[in-house]
């Protein structure tokens, strides 16, 4: 066991755990004040339910031997997961680190169905989803499953986390349906400073997400750290120009969004590509997400917080560009197209496609099954009143001078 590795992984696990509250602020600021708490709760509640389920069953389904498709039950209830080594760190710590990934992946989905999904149905969904979708997909890529055998490169979860969650989000947005008022000019963020705070904390935590995925305090962690710093920076630059070209002004919401898109895109590539490639990857990733976001805003799809544009497009772009920029002289694992291995792009595409099909199909089934027992939406009048009061009996902002929290924004 290596003390430096263990120290870094302890830190990384805490950093990634922080990303879920960060997501709560990012998403929370983007909705109307009457739904602020409910939106944030959708992230926070994942810390509880998914956290426990991961330890009890999820970890085993993802990382124990099992088949090429899913792990077994040998590590259920954390049996066999103790203080012994797993790599160069305690096995328990590896389990905890991976758990923080599962927790935030589930929470990401909430962005597509805010302001109208029944909280109980949401909790039921993420519990089943974590076990039936996240764990198997993690097994395919990281648990010695078939995508690993195929040679798919996903350093920290571009596909396992972001594409996976985005497809589930898309399906959820369609199955749950749009908000009553969508599309309407009154659906505006109530607290953009929260959105910026969330984006900043997400970036901070993401260093644990990406550099921690090196599973050690080593040079690859250093590489992943630097790519995680540079790619979103490039995305932010390009996004600012896109905003200025389109409307003359760079926006704060755009800035926060760009940062997240860049982070998502570099996630699969972090420890596989060079820093200069990361800048290029980040800059390029701005384009598909920006376009998809603009298209979605004019469409009938109420993917309220643009999970598909940010995590879906960002994740797919990042996965494919990993197949372009991977440099074996740096990462010791594989080369991409630019280094003489064009087939890698095809492998990346196959992995992405497989996850889209499985996550999409399974999420649909889970939602339909849950919908038989619990209505997926709140009632129309509850939706109008606001979910903070109706789902939680709370108001986010009680004594704000002159305006009540049930106000317009």
């Amino acid at each position: 066991m290596n003390q430096a590795d263990t120290a870094w992984m302890l830190t990384s696990t805490a950093l990634v755990l922080l990303m879920t509250p960060a997501l709560a602020f990012f998403y929370g600021g983007l909705v109307r004040s009457k739904n602020a708490l409910n939106t944030m709760m959708m992230s926070f509640i994942s810390l509880g339910f998914v956290g426990v389920l991961w330890a009890v069953l999820g970890y085993s389904l993802a990382f124990s031997e099992g088949t090429n498709w899913v792990g077994g039950l040998s590590n259920a209830w954390l049996a066999g997961v103790g203080l012994e080594e797993n790599g160069t760190i305690p096995h328990l710590l590896f389990m905890a680190f991976q758990g923080t990934f599962c927790i935030i992946t589930a929470a990401l989905i909430s962005g597509a169905i805010v302001e109208r999904m029944r909280f109980s149905a949401y909790v039921a969904f993420i519990c089943l989803w974590a076990l039936a979708v996240y764990a198997p997909v993690a097994h395919w890529v990281w648990g010695g499953g078939w995508l690993a055998d195929l040679g798919a490169l996903d350093f920290a979860g571009g596909t396992v986390v972001h594409v996976n969650a985005a497809v589930a989000a898309l399906v959820a947005a369609i199955v749950v349906g749009k908000r009553q008022e969508y599309p309407s000019s009154s659906l505006l963020p109530h607290n953009v400073p929260f959105v910026l705070l969330g984006a900043g904390l997400l970036w901070f935590g993401w260093f644990g997400f990406n550099a921690g995925s090196a599973l050690g305090a080593n040079s690859i962690a250093g590489l992943a750290f630097v790519t995680t710093m540079l790619a979103p920076a490039a995305t932010l630059v390009v996004w600012s120009f896109l905003d200025m070209f389109r409307s003359g002004r760079p926006t704060a919401v755009g800035c926060a969004t760009a940062i997240v898109v860049g982070l998502v895109a570099v996630t699969p590539a972090a420890g596989f590509i060079s820093p200069m490639s990361a800048i290029l990857l980040g800059g390029l990733a701005a384009l598909p997400s920006y376009v998809i976001m603009a298209i979605r805003a004019r469409s009938a799809l109420d993917d309220s917080l643009d999970v598909v544009a940010a995590h879906g497009a960002g994740g797919v772009t990042g996965a494919l560009l990993t197949g372009v920029f991977a440099d074996m002289s740096l990462n010791g694992v594989a080369d991409g197209l630019l280094f003489g291995n064009p087939g890698q792009v095809g492998i990346q595409a196959a992995a992405v496609a497989a996850v889209i099909v499985y996550s999409g199909g399974m999420s649909f089934v889970l939602l339909k099954v849950i919908g038989l027992v619990i209505p997926l939406r709140t009632s129309e009048s509850d939706e109008s009143t606001g979910l903070d009061i109706t789902q939680h009996g709370e108001e986010a902002y009680m004594h704000v001078g002159g305006t009540s929290s049930r106000g317009h924004v």
């Binding site: 389109r246 919401v253 755009g254 920006y290 976001m293 603009a294 004019r298 002159g402 305006t403 317009h408």
Partner: protein, 109 residues
């Protein structure tokens, strides 16, 4: 007694307050409001989609003054709050039947 209800630009509140204090009027109630008359709103861009924000922030100031002071009060408010641009606001005058001081129970009418 009249209630003078003024809707002014938020950044004019202090000027109006000072102008009223100069003529001996210091009690008032101020509320944050949104609204518009002829003033056009602005276009907000949210994630690439444009929105027209037409309800603009203003401040509503209410003072209750004796009939004799109404004209001076209106003059003071208008001079202090005016910029000359569309969106300066309005002053309304309403009758007040009674006024009771809570601390002492005194009544004025």
């Amino acid at each position: 007694m009249r209630l003078i209800k003024s809707i002014v630009r938020p950044n004019k509140v202090d000027d109006v307050k000072d102008a009223l204090a100069k003529i001996g009027i210091s009690g008032m109630t101020v509320t944050e409001v949104r609204g518009h008359g002829k003033q056009k709103g602005h276009t907000a861009i949210y994630r690439g989609k444009e929105y027209n924000v037409s309800l603009l922030p203003k401040m509503e100031m209410e003072v209750v003054v004796p009939d004799a002071m109404v004209d001076d009060a209106i003059k003071a408010i208008i001079e202090a709050a005016r910029t000359g641009e569309i969106g300066d606001g309005r002053v309304f005058v309403l009758p007040v039947l009674e006024s009771h001081r809570i601390r002492t129970g005194e009544k004025e009418s």
